[in-house]
């Protein structure tokens, strides 16, 4: 807004901080009469964090079938070498068939501790190779169904909703709510900037109201009822944001060493939420950039760096939350599809079909690679070009909900039109 200088003369310079000044000096605390009641810590609750690698991450460069006789042929420039070659391209051995990309040191260490379950040839039965559609289908848990708009995680939250749900039960730390979290259940989305400024500015306009003695609740006047609803939602938002911000700001600094990426920042904050024991249960994070058509660079290039980031972050995360909470936490890493088995003419790969997932947490059944493997010979590939999908991603989703929350997503029909005739993988030691 343009103000004349005479205006400015008698305008105090307190400006923006006028109302927030008190709050700014004392951190995030607010006046006692309006401060939301401090909630008592709840018991450690199970937590699932879905990490979505957007773009179609190359399964073959992450969970590497280095003993397959066709591997070197299909990936002339991108192939990684066996563990014994002792080079920068050497995979980290998982079992007789597979090794991790060399940038996944921390995940490999977790694998050896039995806390990381790699899953191969997993994905969607739908044949789309469109990012847009494939991501939607996976995040909604409804391949091929265009008119489902709710996310699979949101449906779980809504299904198990109670009136006593913790404020921080479902949280997203990125401004655009991931699709898996969208739906009827109100997930707290922390906006990018200045949530504190907004909170401090508006909290007195949205008081937590209880009726005073003698005051009748509004009956016929819908306007008053609507007003009350709006105030309640605003108050709830502020209460939740206040709790979220105070947990994040007052949490002790973690001793684990995280990378400096945006992904790492989010995971570090989620670790704080877990350690605060406030009933945090579900979150989802987007990690973009995996669409490596050109110069995939699985060792020293783009993909190698990103895998390194994911690995180092998850390693720090598990260390950060400690062994006790690691038992009740699961990070599920996924992507909309894998990539072509053959590399293309640009040292990259194109959109494929079957892909990979990683399950990281203390409850994981360790020391093996999950999912059926039928090799890289052309007759075994999907449409002669891609990894096949031997495991429907909904199997993994359902096992996650069952193993971590005791929630039977199949029986309770969480996945629309899913017949679920395949056996579980058992990566959480749950059949």
């Amino acid at each position: 807004m343009v103000m004349s200088s005479t205006r400015r003369e008698f305008m105090k310079a307190t400006g923006w901080c006028a109302l927030g000044a008190a709050a700014a000096t004392s951190g995030v605390t607010q006046n006692a009469d309006a401060a939301p009641a401090k909630t008592a810590p709840v018991k450690t609750s199970p937590t699932v964090i879905a990490v979505y690698l957007r773009g179609g991450a190359d399964a073959l460069s992450a969970i590497v079938p280095f003993t397959d006789r066709d591997y070197a042929k299909v990936r002339p420039s991108l192939a990684l070498s066996g563990p014994d070659s002792k080079s920068a391209r050497s995979v980290l051995p998982l079992d007789a068939n597979f090794g991790f990309n060399p940038n996944m040191k921390e995940l490999h260490a977790l694998y050896e501790k039995g806390m990381c379950a790699p899953i191969t040839c997993v994905g969607s039965p739908h044949d789309t190779r469109s990012h847009f559609d494939a991501q939607d289908f996976m995040e909604r848990g409804a391949p091929g169904q265009k008119f489902i708009s709710t996310g699979w995680l949101n449906r779980y939250l809504q299904h198990t909703r109670t009136s006593k749900d913790a404020n921080l039960r479902a949280v997203s730390l990125q401004s655009l709510l991931p699709r898996s979290l969208r739906g009827d259940y109100p997930v707290l989305a922390k906006p990018d900037q200045n949530a504190e400024l907004a909170m401090n500015l508006y909290y007195r306009l949205y008081p937590q109201k209880k009726f005073k003695p003698g005051e009748k609740p509004p009956s016929e006047n819908l306007g008053q009822r609507t007003r009350k609803e709006i105030e309640e939602f605003g108050a709830k938002t502020i209460e939740q944001l206040f709790e979220l911000t105070s947990v994040l700001e007052t949490a002790p600094a973690s001793t684990a060493r995280y990378p400096t990426s945006g992904f790492a920042r989010q995971m570090r904050d989620l670790a704080k939420l877990i350690k605060a024991d406030r009933g945090f249960e579900v979150s989802a994070i987007d990690y973009g950039g995996w669409d490596h058509h050109i110069n995939e660079g699985p060792v020293a290039g783009a993909m190698g760096r990103m895998l390194g980031d994911v690995s180092a972050t998850l390693g720090a995360f598990v260390e950060d939350i400690g062994p006790l909470r690691a038992q009740t936490t699961l990070v599920l890493v996924m992507s909309e599809f894998g990539r072509t088995v053959h590399e293309n003419g640009n040292q990259g790969t194109d959109h494929g079909h079957g892909g990979f997932m990683l399950a990281v947490g203390g409850k994981v059944s360790g020391h093996r690679v999950f999912g059926r493997w039928t090799g890289l010979s052309e007759d075994k590939l999907y449409e002669k070009r891609d990894l096949p999908v031997h495991t429907d991603f909904r199997v993994v989703f359902a096992e996650t909900l069952k193993g971590m929350f005791g929630f039977d997503g199949i029986k309770l029909k969480l996945f629309p039109e899913y017949s679920a005739d395949s056996p579980p993988l058992g990566f959480l030691g749950v059949a």
């Binding site: 709510l177 200045n194 500015l201 306009l205 005073k212 005051e215 016929e220 709006i230 605003g234």
Partner: protein, 488 residues
């Protein structure tokens, strides 16, 4: 000369005094009564327009709200010069025909461009049009007859111009038939590939479930299949031009070879199967004229304009008007607006603004000049209502329960804060809003700010908060983010 301003202030102060004596907060005591003329003007500007522009409540009050409504019901009589200038600059593709629009679908940049122009047109019209009710009702039909711009990027623009906007004040069955024949709808709901022996039921089902009767309201699965068969051959593509012109053009055409010629029964209407395209038209008009359709459309319109839960009595009366007038939408709108319920205290400020309604009302209240819509479009996505990008054929809901979410308000608050700090690039508050504030003495600022953004609405609690700062920007942000501004 009548002193409008003091009259306005007097009324506002009276509202404050009443508020002080009542046990509940800002609103007058709960009475079953008709709204005062000024409250009616406010109701009209919030329900039949996207919120008042500075000074507009006074204008409408002075004119008389009924007279304003009568004008708005004849939008073609209202000049719209400023808007037309903006549209000419930002949205040159609006006048393109189907051929031209179709040509744009083949290039990715062109598709992106026309999509952007369509979304811009929606925003600019809602903010700047003098024909406000036309824009409000266009938004209703846009959702009722939803298409997803990402599925039909160029076709959607032609659809908006030549179907929704063209028929919004005509007969419902004409509007319905126009949607059924437009390539945007034929592609969006897959009817263009439906043929005898390879039936696609999608459109037939939505035609009954969403566009006419409503879910399970008098039709069966058998009707869906039969209607789908009647509509086989309804497709789009290259067709011969009219008699006077040569060559081909793109558009709707009836592919006889794909049409199912077996008899069909659609909700009681029996067709022998040999009527060709006319059978489809018969079936569509038949559905449009059913009582169930009159009730469903009336319910949705009453929900949009009057209350999230309109009474059966009101819906019944409006459905009567719908049927008696042969589905004349202007008559239906008139009946709703001049009903007892529309200007009744029970329904006053009883709705919650959708993200789009919030955004547009902010821009109108602050007389904002939009030089770029980029931030606005982004905000709509963040708030969960990306324009023309609703994937589901249900379109965006208008009810509070769809939008009242704890997170929802934070994005509105943040937007208000950014706006007053001039941090929303491409958007700047304008002189009709700023100048009166600049002329106000510091002691009167809180009241002035509130009365400019929420004219005629008493808000003592908000004004008390505002009095704790001397910065008008903070005051404006407070009002824009206040509970009252979210009410409609």
């Amino acid at each position: 000369m009548r002193n409008c301003l003091s009259g306005f202030l007097r009324i506002a102060l009276a509202g404050v005094v009443v508020g002080v004596f009542s046990p509940s907060r800002a609103q007058p005591p709960d009475l079953q009564r008709r709204l005062t003329p000024q409250e009616s003007a406010s109701q009209v500007l919030n329900r039949l327009a996207f919120g008042p522009r500075p000074g507009q409540l006074t204008e409408v009050s002075d004119k008389g709200w009924q007279k304003w409504v009568a004008e708005q019901l004849q939008p073609q009589t209202i000049a719209d010069v400023d808007l037309e200038k903006r549209l000419a600059t930002h949205c040159p593709s609006l006048s393109k025909n189907l051929d031209e629009v179709r040509a744009m679908e083949s290039s990715e940049t062109e598709r992106g461009r026309i999509k952007r122009e369509l979304i811009d047109a929606v925003i600019l019209r809602a903010v700047y049009s003098q024909r406000q009710f036309q824009e409000v009702i266009a938004e209703f039909w846009r959702n009722h007859f939803n298409v997803d711009v990402n599925k039909v990027p160029a076709l959607a623009m032609h659809y908006e111009e030549n179907v929704l906007r063209k028929h919004a004040f005509g007969k419902f069955e004409d509007l319905l038939l126009a949607t059924a024949k437009h390539p945007a709808m034929l592609v969006y709901l897959d009817n263009y590939v439906s043929k005898a022996g390879g039936l696609n039921e999608n459109y037939a089902r939505e035609l009954m479930e969403l566009h006419t009767l409503g879910v399970d309201n008098g039709y069966t699965q058998r009707d869906v299949i039969d209607l789908a068969r009647v509509l086989t051959g309804w497709t789009c593509g290259a067709r011969a031009r009219g008699r006077s012109a040569r060559g081909q053009e793109f558009g709707f055409f009836f592919n006889e070879a794909a049409h199912d010629t077996n008899p069909a029964t659609v909700v009681g209407l029996q067709l022998d199967g040999f009527g060709g395209m006319a059978d489809g038209e018969k079936a569509i008009r038949h559905l449009a004229r059913l009582r169930g359709t009159a009730e469903f459309i009336s319910t949705k319109l009453c929900r949009y304009l009057v209350s999230d839960a309109p009474t059966k009595a009101l819906v019944g009366r409006i459905a009567d008007v719908f049927q008696k007038s042969g589905g004349d939408l202007r008559e239906v709108y008139k009946a709703i607006i001049f009903s007892l319920e529309f200007t009744h205290s029970r329904n006053y400020r009883s709705k919650f603004k959708t993200p789009f309604e919030f955004m547009v009302s902010v821009l109108r209240a602050t007389d904002s000049d939009i030089t770029s819509t980029q931030r606005i479009v982004r905000e709509m996505a963040i708030m969960g209502q990306p324009i023309y990008e609703c994937v589901e054929p249900t379109g965006y809901s208008d009810a509070a329960e769809a939008w009242l979410d704890p997170g929802v308000l934070v994005f509105r608050w943040n937007f208000a804060i950014q706006l007053v700090q001039d941090k929303v690039s491409g958007v700047k508050a304008g002189p009709a809003f700023l100048n009166p504030l600049l002329k106000t003495s510091p002691g009167n600022l809180t009241h002035k700010v509130r009365s400019m953004i929420l004219p005629g609405i008493s808000e003592p609690a908000t004004e008390k908060m505002m009095a704790q700062t001397s910065d008008p920007r903070v005051m404006v942000a407070l009002v824009l983010g206040s509970p009252s501004f979210q009410q409609q």
